[in-house]
Amino acid sequence: MENEERWVEQLKLGDRQAFQKLYEKYHAKVYTTAFGMLGNEADAQDAVQEIFMKIYHKVATFDSRSNIGTWLYRIAVNFCIDLKRRSTVSRSKALSVEETLLNNLHDNSVEPEKRVISSEVQQLVRKAITHLSPKLRSVIVLRDLQGMTHMEIAEILGCSKGTVSSRLNRGRRKLRALIILAGLDETYLSELT
């Protein structure tokens, strides 16, 4: 515990080694969060870089009594939400979720029976996640990709455990609807469980 406090103090002083330790400890999880939130590797890599630079510059404001992991994930989630928000095309021009998914997935060059294969299912699910609202997307990524508990998620997002649970309900049901809407066979989806 004392070591942790000393480490945080060193971080606040801008110590390079302390920061590298922070990066090594958390970068994989931050990358997973960014990948889930943004839906592709290139954006996730850029986001991780930006997030850690942001953390370095903001660490002096971190309240040492709090958990640094929670603080860091909060920054990561908010950064990804903001990034996504900024890159969103105007609503008037934006295709509907259904149109976008269908356009992306109903590629005529792919034979229908080969469409539903693992990698495409993965791509489809990833895209569907990015079409959820930021609030629903955050809980799904933190729970189902990161494996965090509802309580941990509640602390990161600054809401109650009940809210996390209810957002997970909505998010998962909506996600399933989007996946089916985009062409994934409902029977296939049932067989997954």
Partner: protein, 287 residues
Amino acid sequence: MMLHFKIRRLLSAYADGELEKSAEENIRQHIRQCDSCLIILDEIKHSKKAISMISIPTAPKSIWKMVENELFEAKRNPKQQHASPFANLLDHRLKLILSAASIALLLILFKVWQFEDNVPEMTSTVEKHISTAGFNYGKYFDDIAAQRRADGFEKVYHGKPVDFKTADSIASIGDFHMCIIPSALTGYVLEEISVLTDLCHQSLEIRYIKDGNVIIVFQQPATHPYSLGSRKKEVVNIRSVYCEKMVVGDFIALTWELGNTRFVAIGRLETADFEAIVSASIMQAHS
């Protein structure tokens, strides 16, 4: 037996093994007899399973190299020097001052622009506030405004149309129609808010919090027809005052009553920030 809606709220927690034994048993018993709840549980499980199929790539080592280079190597070159966290605090303050100055400048320019365009002089306090703050009705709300006139509202004010193609968020909560547009100068501004002037009363306080997050707080008589619409609202307790909360898209609206006055806070914010501002407003009203 627990009610369906109570059960359904807990289904994700059940699927994640997050419930206590007794609650888990209640749900298990319920879904044995209830097909509709079982279907929802299956949907949740399908979704969980589909997400679990996603394989997460490993973060490339080059990311650390880039971060390291940006933060530490560049320090050697004074022109590219990055501030230490402490120096950054000073930077942060400077940024805040510059942002405040930019907003003030924007408001002044907006006022001059309005004056030059011969916008009819505002008659009520509320309209004046709206105009000064840079809020106006635009093209997007033409139909709404027309409808309001048809409904007998007289004080529907039209300002300059706004290019809604650049809108970042558009939402309606009851009688309030809002639009947030990115601004090169200030990051984000609540560029457009359609507030029926008849619904406001005297006070309209605008707060810019941080990029993309904007909130307004205003008052109206408690007897006034309800302005947030008839959809079901969540009740939250802030500083022992019960507030009704509604979330629509990125926007949150909270209303609370003190004496004969109803306060309405509306905008786009993280929930915690929003409630902190409402809490401060309640304190202010009490004092």
